[in-house]
Amino acid sequence: MPQIFHRSFNTISKVTIFGAVFMVAGLCWFAAVFYRSSYVTESHLAFVQPVPFSHAHHVGQLGIDCRYCHTSVETSSFAGIPPTKTCMNCHQQIWTGSDMLEPVRESFRTGKSIPWERVHNLPGFVYFDHSIHVAKGVGCASCHGRIDEMPLTYQENTLLMEWCLECHRNPENHLRPKSKIFDMAWQPDDRESLGQQLMRENKIRTPHEMTSCSTCHR
């Protein structure tokens, strides 16, 4: 009776058996990387918006304060997307004929909202609150990145839970003085001592308290 398996199968089977370990490890590695990739998290992806609004222009060049448009960032969980009226405050007078701004004018005429694509999208079971973060000394740029350099807004960070926890576990690395919250370019001179000082001044809670599940999930 001839052999069913060719001699080379010996090698192949050995490679397969030993290789399986690497295969599994590789798959795990791939899954971990894939899970954090921008394909999944949608970070660094700019979306086509009804109006190609540029923060780089409005914030970076014109220097408009964040709170001029995002009015409720200090008082509410939701920072607020400006109503069309806010756009028209200026654009009734400048760039009045621009084709790019036609959807804004149309919205103002018809009373229909501008359907913006949501850039920072949290799952339904996560409850994030802007007001407390701002009050405790987390700057806009800490999460949103250099908005003032974004022509089209994109998500700077992964928004994965591990990313949230990184700060909730070590808040001292991300705090800034209250006067610098809305300052995009601010960098600390001495991160370590400033962090400790702000932890005390702003009455930041312990990581144990800030990582309770119901802090964000309810």
């Binding site: 999944v40 997307i81 109503p83 009226k85 999208n121 609150d129």
Partner: protein, 1087 residues
């Protein structure tokens, strides 16, 4: 089941009382037997289809890698000033029920009303709410509401209707309105009253007729006042001044105008705080009633009499109290009526009369709405004799715009219909085809009407028989007004544009009769402007209007108290009146009609929350039943179906086990009409009487309401709308009905869950709640993990000493089989901070529930359902024990079930206890339920994989599992209703009470921004906010000044199942009753 050490027994059903072996078996199950099965053979095919589909979709689901779906943001075009996106606003308005309004505050998220609370500034509410108020938010978003104008069932335009009806009305105008008949519900609205006046009296239709009909109205109360005082008057009570209360069939703690206020005042006089309360000032409540009500359940003494005997009781009482002329009304009827009270009742009466006369001026006698006018007149005389008028009882002008006898009114209307006098009938609200007395044959005679127009929330039974139907605006969509129980007027303002272009009665009237269209706002505002000008108030009208809207009450509109006494000859009038009552029948069995405790007269039948809410006393859901006493059931040979074993294929007496009670069906024959009804045996119900609840058996009520229960209106006669003798009951052989009843769900076995003693006992044994019942293990734990006062007792002290000797000896019984658990706990507790360490920055949340004041009204259950997006599961699923209420109210009976007068009830709200050593947390394989820094037992839905180990290990049985996709993700209008701060759970996820964590976190953030600590007033849980008795106290245990800390210092504070050493954060104050020693002694002697 063992007997508690002091010989008291508490039981939830007759099986438990009789301790059947099947009951024992059931106790040991986590969920009822079938909870995890899917045994509906009809849907097997559909199940396979769904399985196939979900497998396929599971694959698809894998493709969507992004954790959150893509969304759009739609900002405002012009943002209203008041709105801060993400922050709710609260508006004051008022909810009308039977014409009478109660003030509410409505939470609104970006224009969507989502939650109802009581208005703290409104005299009828003082911030509390009842179950109907809480559930009305679901009524607003009900997808079954009528959505367009119809003519004979065909959709038509509003304008088409308008031109058609206007043409008819202009014809009628030529005859000054002769032939125009209008039927409304009870009206207290000043605006509507003015509109009627303008139209009918002064205006274009002087000969038109206006009728009012409420099936569960308060005609008896008004007629009673008229009998006594020769004029209509409203009566309301001041329980804060009443030391002794005698209720004659009045369920004032659960229903009727002013009930929230009454409960609040009553509870304030009943609450015992050892440092503040003078024990002799605690009030005492006597109740005489037929069926066991909540008021009767929590009474200190209760006498079960048939409804018709209560008037006799009152007569005898009046004689005993030396009310002048008290004999006169009785004399002519002595021969006809059966004047004999039982020996027990007589003795009872004498003691009560003595107690009342000893507290003259500080007592209160009140009569129920269902008792005849004569009894009300008699009670007025009694209260006058007892000098209560002006002290505990107040008379004012009637709050109704036009007080009438509703039953006479509907009769007159039908007579006119029979005589074909009715050219045009406007039915503005109400559903007379369904709820008019059956002997009037309203539906049949409606055919004689030339033109009929119906305004209603639903395409209901009346809409089907009327030619035109117009959708009505829900009160949360309306501009209107109304009066509270004491006459205080409130403006009803809309929270949202009408969802289905409904109109209010004001708008419809104006549109039909006035050439220029007026909006509801204009009509109501104009009316109040006229009033304001007329009464020449100071300031500007705008100021007045704004403040009235903002406060939810129009200041200074409460009616002045009047000093009325029965006019001479009242006794003779009573005697004459009684002749008009139906004569006695020899057949002794009596039938009683009551509005349903959750559906009222049937208007809330399409509300899933109210259908699924267990009825406070019977705990039946999704059904009604003919309620009889155990003795009567025995006599009639009916009961839990003998054949239950064969029917279900399972053992068990089925008195509520598995969430289902398989019961016999009876045929009730009354005045030539018959009705089939399932039977329910209710301990405490008077013998020889059957009580049926109105409001079920709808045919065109909507998808939820249709076909649920039987229609008791089919037996109700206009002559005797509330009770009558002469009923025959026959058991239908071999017929059974399955009721969904939750009374035996989530049973905690015999571990003395409820503890109660008399005030006298409490005086000598303030720490009685910590005395152990038989079979209870001594609480072995020494070191308390929670700050704040602990339930303590002698066991505690003993062990404290032992612990000093041997600090390692902490637990005598291992909490789990996992030996590492102890160590883990110790480490964790060190992390959390021992109580003797300096106080940490964290809050420590805790709750105390006072069982003395809890009346079991169930408002908290619906409030919780509304706040936490809890789904409705339906009758089938309730029968499998899958109801989702996070908060349940356990009802325990005490006493002797075969003596109805010796049955009392105790109510105990049970929700997640947030145990410091939570058994559920240890067994979760994925860490989906863990402790938070501030002591909450967090439930993380997105981690839960649905093993159900946690609920298996929970001794309190408070965890609820989404066995199926219960949350409705597909109905658009319901999405608007949900609380955006709480995750809507999907299938396969465990859930439970979170102490309203969303409210805690919101208050936490708000106060941290303001850099202060959370105070008691900043944070109320939904159940606490709703509770009219203020029995639920929640707050921070790390703050010694918080209300909850102080409440837990009470000696009666005890923990549920403390011997298991779960260290629950929710504890209870044992129930104290204040029985009269004289009656107590008599009962003891007898037994």
């Amino acid at each position: 089941m063992s007997v508690d050490s002091k010989g008291r027994r508490y039981w939830r059903s007759l099986e438990e009382y009789l301790d059947a072996p099947e009951f024992q078996e059931m106790l040991y199950r986590e969920f009822p037997e079938q909870a995890s099965e899917w045994t509906n053979p009809l849907s097997r095919r559909r199940f396979l289809t769904l399985m196939g589909a979900s497998l396929a979709l599971m694959g698809l689901n894998g493709c969507s890698t992004q954790p959150a779906p893509r969304e759009k943001i739609m900002p405002y075009v012009r943002q209203p000033d008041a709105i801060v996106p993400g922050k709710p606003l609260y508006f004051a308005t008022a909810m009308p029920l039977g014409g009478v309004v109660t003030g509410v505050l409505v939470e609104s998220h970006e224009g969507r009303p989502t939650k109802i609370e009581g208005n703290p500034g409104h005299p009828s509410s003082l911030g509390s709410s009842d179950l109907l108020m809480q559930a009305s938010i679901l009524g607003l978003y009900d997808p079954d509401r009528s959505q367009s104008v119809t003519y004979r069932g065909q959709a038509r335009g509003w304008n088409e209707m308008l031109s058609e009806v206007r043409r008819a009305l202009s014809e009628l105008k030529k005859r000054s309105g002769e032939g125009l008949y209008i039927l409304t519900e009870s009206v207290t609205s000043p605006t509507l009253a003015a509109q009627w006046n303008e139209l009918l009296v002064e205006g274009q239709f002087p000969k038109a007729k206006w009728f009012q009909y409420e099936p569960a109205g308060r005609s008896n109360v008004l007629e009673g006042a008229k009998l006594a005082f020769e004029e209509y008057a409203a009566t309301h009570y001041d329980f804060s001044k009443a030391d002794v209360v005698l209720s004659l069939d009045a369920d004032f703690l659960l229903s009727g105008p002013g009930t929230l206020r009454y409960t609040r005042d009553f509870a304030a006089r009943r609450r015992v705080r050892i440092k503040e309360t003078k024990l002799e000032e605690v009030n005492r409540l006597y109740v005489v009633e037929c069926g066991l009500s909540n008021t009767g359940g929590v009474a200190d003494h209760r006498l079960a009499l048939r409804a018709s005997e209560i008037e006799w009781f009152a007569q005898e009482l009046a004689v005993e109290l030396n009310v002048s002329d008290a004999r006169k009304p009785v004399e002519p009827h002595l021969s006809k009526r059966d004047p004999h009270l039982t020996e027990q009742a007589r003795r009872w009466l004498k003691v009560v009369a003595k107690d009342l006369s000893e507290h003259a001026g500080k007592c209160l006698v009140l009569a129920g709405d269902t008792q005849p006018a004569t009894l009300h007149a008699l009670v007025h005389a009694i209260n006058r004799t007892l000098k209560n008028v002006g002290r505990t009882i107040h008379y004012t002008a009637p709050i109704e715009a036009k007080p009438v006898d509703h039953h006479r009114q509907i009769e007159e209307l039908v007579e006119a219909m029979v005589d074909r006098k009715v050219d045009t009938l406007l039915v503005l609200g109400g559903n007379p085809v369904y709820n008019a007395p059956v002997d009037l044959k309203f539906a049949e005679h409606l055919k004689n009407v030339g033109r009929s127009v119906h305004l209603g929330l639903y395409q209901d039974e009346t809409a089907a028989l009327c030619q035109w139907h117009i959708p009505e605006a829900h009160y949360l969509e309306s501009w209107s007004d109304g009066r509270a129980h004491d006459g205080t007027a409130s403006i009803i303002q809309p929270l949202i544009e009408p969802l289905y272009s409904g109109r209010t009665v004001h708008e419809l009237l104006a549109a039909l009769t006035d050439a220029r269209y007026q909006s509801g706002l204009e009509i109501v505002r104009e009316h109040w402007r006229t009033r304001w000008v007329h009464e020449t108030r100071s300031g500007s009208f705008d100021e007045f209007w704004r403040s009235a809207l903002q406060e939810g009450v129009v200041p200074g509109t409460a009616f002045a108290h009047r000093n009325l006494s029965p006019k001479t000859g009242w006794a003779e009038r009573l005697a004459n009146w009684q002749l008009r009552l139906p004569s006695e029948s020899n057949n002794k069995l009596e039938i009683g009609f009551r509005p349903d405790p959750t559906l009222f007269d049937g208007r809330f039948a399409n509300n899933g929350w109210l259908q699924e809410l267990p009825k406070p006393v019977t705990k039946i859901t999704w059904d009604n039943a003919a309620i009889v006493s155990p003795k009567t059931a025995e006599r009639l040979g009916i009961g839990y179906a003998q054949s239950a074993r064969e029917v279900s294929g399972r053992p068990g007496p089925n008195g509520g086990e598995h969430g289902q009670a398989i019961v016999d069906v009876i045929e009730i024959t009354y005045r030539g009409r018959t009705l089939k009804a399932p039977i329910w045996i209710q301990p405490g119900h008077a013998d020889d009487a059957v009580t049926v609840h109105l409001g079920h058996g709808r045919k065109r009520g909507g998808r939820v309401a249709n076909g649920v229960g039987f229609d008791a209106y089919a037996l109700r006669n206009n002559e005797a709308p509330w009770f009558d003798r002469g009923v025959e009951v026959r058991k239908i052989p071999n017929a059974t009905h399955t009721l969904a009843c939750t009374q035996m769900h989530h049973n905690m076995e015999e571990r003395a869950p409820i503890r109660t003693r008399s005030l006298a006992y409490f005086k000598d044994h303030p720490y009685f709640a910590d005395e152990l019942g038989e079979g209870e293990i001594e609480k072995p734990e020494v070191l308390a993990l929670i700050p704040g006062p602990q339930p303590r007792g002698r066991a505690e002290k003993l062990l404290e000493e032992e612990a000093r000797k041997d600090p390692d000896k902490k637990r005598l019984i291992p909490l789990t089989l996992y030996s590492g658990a102890d160590k883990q706990f110790e480490e964790e507790s060190k992390q959390l901070g021992e109580p003797d360490e300096e106080p940490t920055q964290s809050y420590q949340w805790g709750m105390a529930i006072d069982l003395t004041t809890c009346t079991g009204c169930s408002a908290c259950v619906v409030a919780c359902q509304s706040e936490n997006n809890i789904p409705v599961v339906g009758k089938e699923e309730v029968m499998r024990g899958r109801e989702m209420h996070w908060l349940r109210i356990d009802r325990y009976f005490e006493g002797e079930p075969f003596d109805p007068s010796r049955v009392s009830a105790h109510f105990q709200p049970v929700m997640c206890m947030h145990c410091e050593k939570a058994p559920c947390e240890l067994v979760c394989p994925v860490g989906a339920t863990v402790h938070s820094h501030d002591g909450l037992n967090d439930m993380i839905y997105n981690r839960c994989v649905g093993t159900r180990y946690c609920s298996n290990n929970c001794p309190y049985k408070v965890r609820r599992f989404n066995f199926l996709q219960f949350a409705d993700f597909s109905t658009g209008s319901l999405k608007l209703m949900r609380n955006p701060e709480v995750t809507v759970r999907s299938r396969g996820v465990m859930e439970k009470c979170s102490y309203c964590v969303q409210r805690i976190r919101a208050a936490d953030i708000e106060t941290r921004i303001e850099d202060r600590r959370i105070a008691d007033r900043d944070l109320l849980t939904a159940c606490q906010a709703a509770c009219p008795a203020q029995a639920i106290v929640f707050g921070d245990l790390s703050n010694q000044n918080s209300a909850v800390y102080k409440t837990k210092e009470e000696p009666t504070n005890y923990a549920l199942l403390a011997s298991l050493n779960t260290q629950p954060r929710t504890t209870y104050l044992a129930a104290l009753r204040n029985p009269n020693p004289e009656l107590e002694a008599a009962t003891e002697k007898k037994s």
